[in-house]
């Protein structure tokens, strides 16, 4: 089961927050294929949001193929986003935990650590803003440029 938190000050639409938290739970293995998502009634009773917001989030997840509604039973997880490499106890996660502890002991606040990891992630993964990259990641394969002839045909 999963418990939703609503950040009313984040400026992120509430249904996107819910969908994000389900994806996060799928990634962490908190939710697994076959699990039932909480009903709209359960969610709104705990969070005091409009039931349609929950349904909208679930529809979004359904569109992504992550969950499926079963009439009269609820909404169920179809596939996982879990990566064993990221599971609790995995070497990568253990190393990261140790690193976070070191960063905290060095006096960095949560926001500092988040900014630092974001900066390093931006260096290694292309995002929408491809600026100030120290080591550019491998170029994603671009579609071939249209040939001059086809451009002339268009005009």
């Amino acid at each position: 089961m999963i418990v939703f938190r609503i950040d009313r000050r984040s400026g992120v639409a509430t249904y996107l927050q819910l969908a994000h938290q389900v994806r996060q739970a799928l990634r962490l293995g908190v939710l697994k294929p076959g699990d039932r998502l909480p009903t709209a009634k359960d969610v709104v009773e705990a969070t005091a949001i409009n039931p349609n917001t929950v349904l909208k989030a679930y529809r979004e997840l359904e569109r992504e193929g992550l969950v499926e509604p079963r009439p009269g039973q609820g909404t169920f997880v179809r596939r996982s986003l879990a990566r064993p490499e990221a599971a609790v106890g995995s070497p990568l996660r253990t190393e990261l935990t140790e690193w976070v502890v070191r960063a905290r002991d060095a006096g960095l606040e949560r926001a500092d650590i988040a900014a630092l990891t974001d900066a390093v992630l931006d260096e290694w993964f292309s995002s929408t803003q491809v600026s100030k990259q120290v080591k550019p990641p491998p170029e994603p394969s671009l579609p071939p440029h249209p040939s001059p002839q086809s451009m002339e045909e268009d005009t």
């Binding site: 009313r8 509430t14 709104v44 005091a48 949001i49 409009n50």
Partner: protein, 309 residues
């Protein structure tokens, strides 16, 4: 998501109510769709409570009419389908909780005792406790238990969250939302706490000066408006960019060199704001409601003829 055949839960036509001191509501027209959660917003004295009392038949209109699912609010048909929780949540403080529930059962033609008890028990309220000894939050829960036990199709809540602490606010709204999820009831609730309406309400009715100032689907209304920020144009009155003819300026103000304004564009692109000197974004519901409330300063309804326009 405007469904043309969607039923109307509450409809007012040229609705007006006059008291000795003047008109509390005048020339109000609106359709509140069934199955939705409408925020009823307005400054004090805008006519919100009067509207609730007209919708429940506790007051009769001076002119015009109001209909609950097509029926006059004083008819048994309308009364059976409506539950109203007034601001002061009137309960008999000398009654125990169990006596209060029995009282509700005796007074109502349809009564779902199981629902009432479920709501009371979920709040861990002992049935033998006297209502007078309960906290505000517990009293609100009892009042909601009475309202839900009627199995209403239309639930009217006048400032349901006033006097409640933050945790109890979430608990109370959670109760109402669960009922909406369960039975698809229509809710109309008034509140001054605009930030709490944002995640709850999907429809808006804003009253000012005893008239309707804004109404519609919450999401659509936000998208129909534009928040504009930029360098004020010193050559123009009010600092607004040129080319805003036909665009309704809800509010605008200049602070130092900066202009901020809220425009009603109804989704049309506004060329004047397209260049990069201006930052435009879609306002949040709270932003939008605040702008409309600010642009409607308090006035006595009777002396304001424009209010109803």
């Amino acid at each position: 998501m405007t469904d043309p055949i969607a039923a109307t839960a509450l409809r007012a036509t040229r609705l007006g109510r006059r008291f000795r001191k003047g008109w509390a509501l005048r020339d109000c027209g609106f359709d509140l769709p069934a199955g939705r959660i409408t925020a009823l917003v307005g400054p004090n004295g805008a006519g919100k409570s009067t509207l609730f009392h007209l919708a429940t038949g506790l007051l009769r209109p001076t002119e015009g009419e109001i209909r609950v699912f097509g029926a006059d609010p004083v008819t048994a048909e309308a009364r059976d389908r409506t539950a109203f929780l007034s601001q002061d949540k009137p309960l008999y403080t000398g009654f125990t909780v169990a006596e209060t529930l029995r009282f509700g059962r005796e007074l109502n033609r349809s009564w779902d005792a199981a629902t009432a008890e479920r709501v009371v028990r979920a709040g861990n309220i002992p049935l033998d406790a006297r209502v007078g000894t309960l906290s505000q939050g517990q009293r609100t829960r009892i009042a909601l238990a009475l309202a839900f036990a009627k199995r209403p199709d239309l639930l009217l809540l006048d400032e349901p969250l006033a006097d409640l602490d933050p945790l109890v606010r979430i608990e109370v709204m959670g109760l109402v939302m669960a009922e909406v999820a369960d039975r698809g009831i229509t809710v109309v609730m008034s509140s001054h706490v605009l930030s709490e309406l944002e995640n709850v309400c999907d429809h808006v009715l804003l009253l000012a000066h005893g008239g309707v100032r804004l109404q519609g689907d919450a999401q659509q209304l936000c998208e129909d408006h534009l928040r504009l920020t930029g360098l004020a144009d010193p050559s123009r009155k009010g600092g607004l960019p040129s080319g805003l003819d036909g665009v309704d300026v809800v509010e605008s103000s200049v602070t130092g060199r900066q202009l901020t304004a809220l425009l009603r564009t109804d989704g049309r692109p506004v060329d004047a704001c397209a260049d990069d000197r201006w930052v435009t974004d879609i306002p949040s519901l709270e932003d939008l409601l605040l702008a409309y409330l600010r642009s409607a300063p308090a006035a006595t309804p009777s002396s304001d003829k424009e209010a109803a326009a």
